[in-house]
């Protein structure tokens, strides 16, 4: 039996009085891709922002229950938030490279954590995100000159540069053209060998293509969780079926 990488135990979350996540219980295995699906506003982004404690940015946020990553509660009193976040890469919905050179974008994380051999890290990360061939010869150009798809892969490289074990992606292809989107999907499938990936997506087809497990959230509740192929073939809940067949979402 494989140890869970991420274990969610009776997680509830609120923004002020608004109960946004309701008694979530599930676990995510290492080296898998887990798709988080559900209609807009059901709490997908909130969930993955809890995993790396970006939820701390919202003053009204509070929670009960626990999330264990490698057995450690992310809200534990003795946890070092900076170390926790270093171990979790985050790719945002909109590409958000820093207004610096391509090199500096990727080097930012490793420099922050005082890592050595920055040049090698930059090259390795850009290779992992399939960007090296396109930008390897012009690393000092501003990142903002890249196309949207390249920017998103740069953001992935930036996240990979600090050697995270987990990568969280919040609808990473929502703003990209189909070809760029496909590249990101291919990357997700190769990266799965070394990382545990949690992917928020609206796109059922995409979830089917790339994910091993899928979670279906509805108004903050976990309606369905299991192997993606199983859920797709025989959804247990009518709301899941409605979502999968595109009747809402």
């Amino acid at each position: 039996m494989v140890e869970a990488k991420i274990q969610v135990n009776d997680l509830n979350a609120w923004y002020g009085d608004f109960h946004v996540l309701k008694s979530l219980n599930f676990e995510i295995l290492p080296n898998t891709v887990t798709a988080i699906m559900g209609p807009s506003g059901c709490g997908k982004t909130t969930f993955i922002r809890i995993l790396n404690r970006l939820c701390d940015m919202v003053p009204e946020f509070h929670h009960t229950g626990e999330i264990l990553i490698d057995g450690q509660d992310v809200f534990g009193a003795d946890i070092d938030v900076y170390e926790l976040r270093k171990g979790i890469g985050f790719v945002f919905q909109k590409p958000n490279p820093f207004p610096m050179s391509i090199y500096d974008n990727v080097a930012y994380g490793p420099k922050t954590h005082g890592m050595k051999d920055i040049n090698e890290i930059v090259q390795r990360s850009l290779e992992q995100s399939a960007l090296w061939d396109e930008v390897g010869h012009r690393l000092d150009e501003p990142a903002l000159k890249l196309s949207g798809g390249q920017q998103q892969r740069l953001c992935l490289a930036r996240a990979l540069a600090v050697n995270p074990g987990i990568i969280l992606m919040d609808e990473p292809v929502a703003f990209l053209d189909p070809i760029s989107a496909q590249k990101i999907e291919e990357l997700i499938m190769t990266l799965k060998r070394d990382y545990t990936i949690v992917l928020v997506t609206h796109n059922v087809q995409q979830a089917l293509r790339v994910s091993d497990s899928a979670a279906f959230l509805y108004l903050g509740e976990l309606i369905e969780y299991g192997r993606t192929s199983l859920i797709a073939e025989t959804p247990k809940d009518p709301r899941t079926e409605a979502f999968l067949t595109g009747r809402f979402g």
Binding site: N52, L54, D56, M57, V58, P59, F61, V81, Y82, E83, L84, R85, K86, G87, I88, G89, F90, F92, K94, P95, N96, P97, F98, P99, M100, Y108, G109, T112, H113, L144, Q151, C155, R158, A159, V162
Partner: protein, 312 residues
């Protein structure tokens, strides 16, 4: 050529009688507004013309590169260098204070303090309000009041000196630099901060290496605007700097400056040579302010670029 033909047609249409009352009114409004536009720009050109027409005679390299010998002889190097020293030291005092306060108010006090206790949050809110309120009030304080303040507080400690004058100017720079820095920081998209925090960076590192950098062009614009404003101010220096025929770097030495020199010349301007020297000094001052403002405008165009690009 087609253009010349269309210009003649245009001219002819202007000089024929209007066909209708509405066309007449339309043309009347146009002429009226054009005249207003000219009237508004007139003072600027009149001043520049007056100053340059009178002052250009004395303007030569020696006038800029040598110190005064008495009031009527030599150049105005002491005043030019003195002004630069005053503004440089004032900037070195005001910039770190304002940038620090702006980072505190926009980056620290308001964000990411979920773990802070309720009363700490309340306190932060009040500190921000007080900082912003005092800065706004400071912006409206007449410059002569700054001069009086400098006399009471800085001259009492340092005597009439470079440092007393520079500190007084620094106070005057605070509102402009603080507010423009705050605005530039606030214009940096939240997504950049989140990207940095998500990599495990501290708020400190995020503020300095990402936010400040993205906001740099805007901050520089604010600094230049503040410099352009105070470099021409006489009142704050009136009681605080004294006067000097040389331009020493000693903090406690009295120091000359361009606006103060013009003021003194205007006071004693009974002879032709003093009158001309006042004009020439004014040309130099206007020239410096002009250059600073041009750079500020150029930098503020870059602000737009950064903010737009970062806003994705």
């Amino acid at each position: 050529m087609g253009t010349s033909k269309s210009i003649t047609r245009e001219l002819r249409s202007w000089f024929r009688l209007p066909k209708s009352r509405r066309e007449f009114l339309d043309r009347l409004t146009f002429v009226f507004l054009a005249v207003i536009a000219v009237i508004i720009t007139l003072p600027f050109f009149a001043i520049v013309f007056e100053v340059v027409a009178n002052g250009w005679i004395l303007l030569n390299p020696a006038f800029i590169l040598t110190n005064m010998v008495g009031f009527a002889e030599g150049g105005i190097r002491n005043a030019i260098v003195g002004s630069i020293e005053l503004v440089a030291i004032a900037s070195m005092v005001a910039i770190p204070l304002c940038v620090g306060a702006a980072i505190y108010t926009t980056e620290y006090a308001q964000r990411g303090r979920r773990r802070a206790r309720r009363w700490v949050q309340e306190l932060n809110k009040w500190v921000i309000r007080i900082v912003e309120f005092t800065a706004d009030v400071l912006a409206g304080v007449p410059s002569i009041i700054f001069g009086a303040f400098g006399l009471i507080f800085f001259v009492a400690v340092f005597g009439r000196s470079l440092i007393a004058g520079a500190l007084t100017l620094a106070l005057m720079m605070i509102p402009t630099i603080l507010r423009t820095t705050q605005e530039s920081l606030r214009a940096v998209p939240l997504s950049l901060r989140e990207a940095s925090l998500a990599l495990g960076a501290t708020t400190w590192s995020t503020s300095w290496r990402v936010v400040l950098r993205a906001a740099l062009a805007g901050i520089i614009t604010g600094i230049l605007l503040a410099i352009g404003r105070v470099i021409g101010e006489t009142a704050p220096l009136l009681f605080t700097t004294g006067f000097n025929f040389d331009a020493p770097w000693g903090f406690l030495d009295a120091i000359a400056s361009l606006p103060f020199t013009i003021y003194l010349y205007a006071l004693q301007g009974h002879t032709e040579i003093i009158r001309l020297r006042a004009y020439s000094t004014a040309i130099v001052l206007i020239g410096i302010v002009f250059v600073v403002d041009v750079i500020a405008v150029w930098a503020s165009k870059k602000v737009g670029l950064v903010v737009r690009a970062g806003g994705v």
